[in-house]
């Protein structure tokens, strides 16, 4: 994918979260957003997902500008798949229904088609035996995998992950990261906010570090993580790698 952000700014009340964020990536398949909490990485991802409107600036995705008007945003949100940290699924629906709901109501699949698509994806993720369970009966890792299944079922042009493993214990983290890595190998384009540096190193072809609302460093993992240029990056890495 091609991703271009020009002077994106965003404030919540008196708190400025993004200060003139610029990005210019010509050929990127997996972009990892890293950085300290409150640095603006989640906000940037949410702007890409069409869930937040920037105060100023522009965002181009594959040479098309994302228009931040409700009508256009609805179309945009329907073309990307977003996975949050937790509580992605609707608790009153089964795993299967969670996937068929957007297929039927948003993407106008007929119920049997939607069901078939959902069943195929759940089978691929080895979740078939859980397809009639409500989220409360699934483990945290299974829930996130169902959420990812829902996100890819609509054939999105881009997958967005907002700290998808932050609420999970290590074992479940692994099962979710494996799924993401598999999607990456399939050649799907994705943007990922993460605190898992090792994982970012493995799957990202570009890493951007956001701190204080600015991108302080952006480049391939070998540069950003192994030979950082900026002091902010070095400090951040020193801090998180210490423990």
């Amino acid at each position: 994918m091609k991703l271009r952000a020009a002077d994106l700014c965003k404030s919540f009340g008196r708190q400025t979260v993004l200060r003139e964020v610029n990005l210019n990536l010509e050929q990127v398949h997996a972009l990892a957003l890293i950085g300290p909490s409150g640095g603006g990485k989640s906000t940037l991802l949410r702007i890409m997902a069409g869930l937040e409107k920037p105060d100023s600036g522009r965002l181009h995705l594959n040479d098309r500008e994302v228009i931040y008007r409700e009508k256009e945003l609805m179309v945009h949100r329907r073309s990307v798949g977003t996975v949050f940290q937790a509580f992605n699924l609707f608790p009153h629906l089964t795993a299967l229904q969670n996937i068929t709901l957007p297929l039927e109501k948003v993407h106008h699949y007929k119920p049997p088609e939607a069901r078939q698509v959902a069943e195929e994806i759940l089978e691929r993720f080895q979740l078939s035996e859980h397809c009639h369970k409500p989220p409360a009966q699934l483990s945290g890792g299974q829930r996130q995998r169902v959420a990812i299944a829902r996100a890819i079922s609509i054939k999105p042009k881009l997958l967005l992950f907002d700290e998808p493993t932050s609420a999970l214990d290590p074992e479940m983290t692994a099962e979710v990261l494996e799924v993401i890595e598999e999607l990456r190998k399939e050649g799907r384009d994705l943007v990922l906010v993460t605190h898992q540096m090792g994982f970012a190193h493995r799957i990202a072809d570009q890493i951007a570090l956001l701190s204080g609302g600015r991108i302080t460093e952006c480049g391939p993992p070998s540069q950003v993580l192994d030979n950082p240029v900026s002091d902010t990056t070095r400090e951040f890495l020193a801090k998180i790698l210490k423990y």
């Binding site: 609805m74 949100r77 509580f87 992605n88 609707f90 009153h92 709901l101 409360a136």
Partner: protein, 247 residues
Amino acid sequence: MAWQVLLLNWAFAFLLLALICFFSFSQLRYNWNWQTVGGYSGFFWRGWLNTLKISSLALVLSTLIGMVAALARRSGFLALQAVSRLYVELVRGTPLLVQISFAFYVVADALHFQDRFTVGLFTLSLFSGAFISEIIRGGIESVGTSQLESARAIGLTRFQTYRYVILPQAIRVILPALAGMFANLIKDSSLLSVISIEEFTWNAQQVSALTYSNFECYIPLAIGYLVLTLPITLWTQWLEKRTRYET
């Protein structure tokens, strides 16, 4: 629990009730006069059917009013929010008796509208609607923001979000409170007797006046209301069970 145990518990509860009633009435020196009152059973039937009619209509109407008021309160228009808020606070804060008199003797009179039944129906519905709107609003607001966020992310419209995400979850919170409200509505309809709507209570009062009897009228009255309110409670319990899911 085995059904025998359940039966025993219920039998015990009924026995206790019967003892209290028996004791109280045995202390009362009262000449029961069932036969005379029995001659007026037509009054009771007519009244009961009228109460059934006005309550069922008010039940539907007040739910609609409650839904509209709750949505107005959550809408983006400040004027709508204010109107809804004013309506709810005024109606909840004043006695139904005053509202009925005001609606009939002032508002309906000014409009030269004389149909007591319609005035009564609308007043009762507006009264219950205010409470129901708060119940519905509470239910809607019990659904977490993360749910709304997910609904937005998958591209549901505002209406679809209400239809497929918010309402199915809110209904669990709304139902028990709504059942209590519906039972209240049925009993509150007795106050319509003050503008001489010929419902159950009004008819019982007529019989009481005609036959100089009290409890022979009030006991059937109580049973008549119970017959209406009990099924509602049971129906909601069943619905609650059906809509239950783990969280």
